[in-house]
Structure formats: structure tokens, C-alpha cells
Subunit: 329 residues, 2 copies
């Protein structure tokens, strides 16, 4: 049994979206999945009843509070021990759930995960990874917002976290790792990028693909692309916005539906396919979704969470990080 | 008469592309423009002859060398005083030209401009601005690569440089200035972004529009968007690559030509329209183009250079920068 705790109070469409997402995930699953909806029991029971009754393997875990978007994430986690985020993560710590999924405050999920699940040994800072479509295969971009500044050693840790993730979850046996930068040459970029290039290149456990410039992202010629959370966040949000706008314009131009000959474009622009960004480097499985996620994206995130549990990725990460040769910091 | 010196040795298609671009710019102009092609005289005369003879107001200025892409820009400018970039910029310093346009090494044009034209008073570091299409009107994004790291005061200088540029060249009387960041709130981002937000907000000479997240770039709800040259470079190159790929896929899907109903998409994705990024903060007019620029983009850059000269933007910038109240740095 794989038990996914789902934040039923987080996201613009809560609690309706999480309830529908849970229902859809369970309907598709072959019987191994269990979803624990975490939130206000009364409102959740009403929502479940209204949407057709409680399916098997869906249960409700009471959480009295919700973290609001305008709260300081770290403070919210400490001051609201009964928030759906804190309760959901605590279920995992206490062995009552295997994973946590939330479309609520990303900052609070991150702060809560570090506090309640802890970081893996060798990880200074967890990172948020986002699976980004390209003209070739999707790649994992990280960090996309957990850390606005990074040191070279953090980028190396991100490289390891990302490489194991795409190996275990995307099935890429020897992932190529790129470093997002302003030029191809090793000496390009700021001091952090130059030093990170050097660390990544001399790490025999990584298949380093060198610096990747902005216009190469879309080519998909690496599997993992590491960067600081500032540039990663800007690039990810920018990509999503262009993608959404181009697809909307195409649909509008053809009267509502995308033309069959434009499906190739949708493939490189469609985010909802992926839905759910893993928080990597914590001692557990935590997946964050956009606040505006539709049920389909949250359902996919539940699927990603279950897959992460099934793959045993947390153990894999621990093993890999232990084997990281100690390096000058 | 407006005299534009054009680097005839820079860019992937040199010297054919610059010669064709010069010819096109002169053909369209009403008689006020003069183009000085800077490069190897023999090869240029042959190219001019082959392309139909020398038009009026086109002349050749000899430069014995070219800066190669793999050279260190600063070193190349110092060690090659007879490069087309150095000669072209020197023409402007000596009053024999009013502007310089190059599709050669951006780094060398920047280093050369600082060395040979000098920076404007009050400017610590010049910035490269790029006019970026959006769903509304185009905006000026800067810096897109001159400075991989910036301090808050640099971002404030970029804001002033950008605001005057869009006022004089895009005709926007009170430009809104945004700060590219990972969140809307003033406290979001790294230390530089937080301090820059504060500087920009308290600058009465600027119309500050606040932080702009990655997904808001495309909305065009500011006219000038400031950022460090690392993130600006990544975003610009990423945008160009997506734009190129989507337009290519659309053309392919409709058998070569863009469908009329897709012109709205092209409008937000078409870079060649703009062609030519100003180097702002130097005491003169210098416009850089992509190395891969087609003649149309270089022709547009010549037009931008002429317009910059006509607008008297360098004087405007000097006046504005002088009026910048001294602030804590």
C-alpha cells in the first residue's frame, strides 16, 4: 500500500480540487494507492458527499488550520502546528503516510519539510525540481525557487539530487547534467558559476554536459539542468506563461480546439502533463503543485508521489549522497 | 547627416550581411543617412561590386583585423587597435561617425566602447538593453549580458538608462519600470533584489511598477524591466529560442507560410523586427546584433542607431544622470 497525504486546504481551488484529484487518482490506480485528505473534517466530508460519496482507500485526517499565501512560510509552519501542511508532513514522519502532496504555499511546504522530515545527510539545502518539456525529452530543472542564492557546492548537490531523480523516475540510466550559464566556456558566468563548473566537471560520479545557455534549454540536450533558485524560478514561470499564451492563441485561432498539426507544439508547451514538482534533498517525499493547479495536475502529482515512493528514491538519494567524495567547500 | 559606422567584419555572415544591410538601410532612407563600412578594403570593395556597385552615401573605412569570437574581449580590444570594432568606435570618438553597429563579439564592443567612448558620468557599468515583444507593447529588458553580477545601485542606473531609452526611442512618455524578481512582495528575492526594490521605490524620478515575476514578463505591464545580466541573458536567449521554434513549427504545419490567423502569435514571438540591442551608459551610440543576424536585423539595427542619434539620447541620458540625487551606495 502506498499512502499519499494530500493537503486539502492548499491551492486556489481547495477543497474541491484536491477532493476531485484524489478521486481521479484512486479511480485510475490498481488498488495499491491510498489517499489521506488532510484538512477540516466537516468541510471535507461535505465536499466528498457532494462529489459522489467516499470511495474506498480515501480517508480524512483532521487539520484545524491552513497556511495562507501571505504568511511568512517559516513562521506559519512553527506557529500553526495544526495546519494541513504540518499535519500532512507529520503523518509521514510518524510512518502513517509515505508521501505528501500540496498545492498550498511552496515556501511553507519547504520549511515544514526541512523541519519535520529533515534534510538528507550531505544536503545543505533542499531544492525544488521542475520537469520541463523540451523539443526532445523533458528535463529536470532545479532549483526553481527554494534558494534564491546558491554556492557552488549547493549546485553540485542539486546535480546529484536531480540525476538520481531522473534516473529513478524518468528512467534515464546515465543522466547528462548541465549547468545553466551565460556562455559555453568554463570561464563564463559569475564566480559561483565558474566554481560550480569546476566542481561538476571534476565529479566522476556525474556525467557533466557542460554549460547550457538559455537558448539550449529547449533543445533538451541534457537531462538535468542545475541553476540557482532565482534564475530557475524566473525561467520556469516565464516558460509556463509563454506556453499558456501560445496554446491559447492557437486554440483561439482555430475556434477552440488545437489543430491536429499543432500537437507537436503542444507537446513542448504543455505543463499540465507534468504537474507536481519534487522537493529534493529532504528525508521523505514531498511534491508541490501550483496554487492554480486544476484537478488533473494535482492527480498527476499524486501519481508522481506514488511513483517516487515505489522507486525507493529516498534510499537511493541517501546512498548516492553518502558516496559523494568529500570535496573542498 | 547621420553617419553610422558599421562593423563589416563582425557576425556569421560578414562581410556579405553587413554590405546587404547597409545597402537596404540606405535604399530606405530619405537621404540623411550615411554608412561607413569598416573592414578589409579589398574584400569589401569586391563584395560591394558583386552586390551591384557602390551606392551613394556608402563608404569604406579600412580596418586590418577582426576580433574573433573565441578571443578575450578586453584583450582583443587592447591588442588589436586596428580591428573593425576598435576602428569603428574610434571614428565616433573622433567625430567622424555618430554611431557604431556591430554583429561581432558583444563583449569586445562593450569593452571597446567603455575604453574608447567612455562611460557617462554616474554610470558604474553600461548595460545591454534588448527590446522584447510581449502580448502588449514591447518592453526594454536590461541588462541582458554586460554584467553577470550587479549591485543594487547598478540596477537603479539601469532603470534610468532604460527609462530614457524607451522615452526617446519608443515614445513612451512616463515609462513604468519593473524589477525582475521571484515574487511580488518587496522582501522577495536575494539581498540585491531586496535592496534594489527599496532604491527604485524611493527614487522620485522613476515610475516604479514593483517586482515583476517571470510569468508577468509576457504581459508587458511595465515598459522597462531591470535585472542582472545573468538572468537577463538566460531569459532573452530562452525567449528567442522558443519563439524561433514555435514559429518554425507553425510554418511547417501550414506548409511554409504562417497562417493569417497566427499573425498575432508571430507578433509576440518575432525578434527580427527589433534587431539591435543598445549598449546603454556609454558616451556614444553603440548597437550590438546577434552574430547570426540576417541582413534585415542588421538593417533594423542601423535604423535604431540613426534614430538614437536623431533623438539626442546621449545628451538626454547625461542630463538625467546628472539630476540623479546622490544616494547611499
Amino acid at each position: 500500500m502506498i499512502r499519499v497525504a494530500l493537503d486539502a486546504m492548499g491551492g486556489d481551488g481547495a477543497p474541491a480540487v484536491p477532493v476531485r484529484a484524489a478521486r481521479a487518482a484512486l479511480a485510475e490506480d490498481d488498488g495499491e494507492l491510498e489517499v489521506l485528505l488532510v484538512g477540516g473534517p466537516d468541510v471535507l466530508r461535505r465536499e466528498i458527499d457532494a462529489s459522489g460519496g467516499r470511495p474506498a482507500r480515501l480517508s480524512v485526517v483532521a487539520a484545524a488550520e491552513a497556511v495562507e499565501d501571505d504568511e511568512s512560510p517559516a513562521r506559519a509552519v512553527r506557529r500553526k502546528p495544526d495546519s494541513s501542511i504540518a499535519v500532512g508532513l507529520r503523518l509521514q514522519r510518524e510512518g502513517e503516510a509515505d508521501a505528501f502532496v500540496s498545492a498550498g504555499s511552496t515556501g511553507a511546504v519547504m520549511a515544514g519539510s526541512v523541519l519535520l522530515l529533515g534534510s538528507l545527510p550531505g544536503v545543505d539545502r533542499p531544492a525544488i525540481g521542475a520537469v520541463v518539456p523540451t523539443a526532445a525529452e523533458p528535463i529536470l530543472l532545479l532549483d526553481v525557487g527554494a534558494n534564491v542564492t546558491t554556492r557552488p557546492r549547493h549546485l553540485r548537490q542539486f546535480a546529484h539530487l536531480g540525476a538520481i531523480y531522473v534516473r529513478e523516475l524518468l528512467g534515464i540510466s546515465e543522466p547528462r547534467v548541465g549547468l545553466l550559464n551565460v556562455g559555453e566556456e568554463p570561464e563564463k558566468g559569475d564566480d559561483v558559476a565558474v566554481a560550480a563548473h569546476d566542481l561538476l566537471r571534476s565529479d566522476a560520479a556525474l556525467r557533466f554536459a557542460g554549460n547550457v545557455e538559455g537558448h539550449r534549454i529547449i533543445e533538451g540536450d541534457c537531462d538535468v539542468l542545475v541553476c540557482d533558485g532565482f534564475v530557475g524560478n524566473v525561467v520556469l514561470k516565464f516558460y509556463e506563461s509563454i506556453a499558456g499564451r501560445v496554446v491559447a492563441l492557437l486554440e483561439e485561432a482555430s475556434g477552440g480546439e488545437l489543430r491536429p498539426e499543432h500537437r507537436g507544439i503542444r507537446r513542448i508547451l504543455d505543463y499540465a502533463e507534468y504537474g507536481g514538482a519534487p522537493l529534493l534533498g529532504v528525508d521523505g517525499v514531498a511534491i508541490v503543485c501550483h496554487g492554480a493547479s486544476p484537478p488533473r495536475a494535482v492527480r498527476n502529482a499524486i501519481g508522481v508521489a506514488a511513483q517516487a515512493v515505489r522507486s525507493g528514491i529516498v534510499d537511493e538519494l541517501e546512498r548516492d549522497l553518502r558516496s559523494m567524495a568529500p570535496r573542498p567547500r
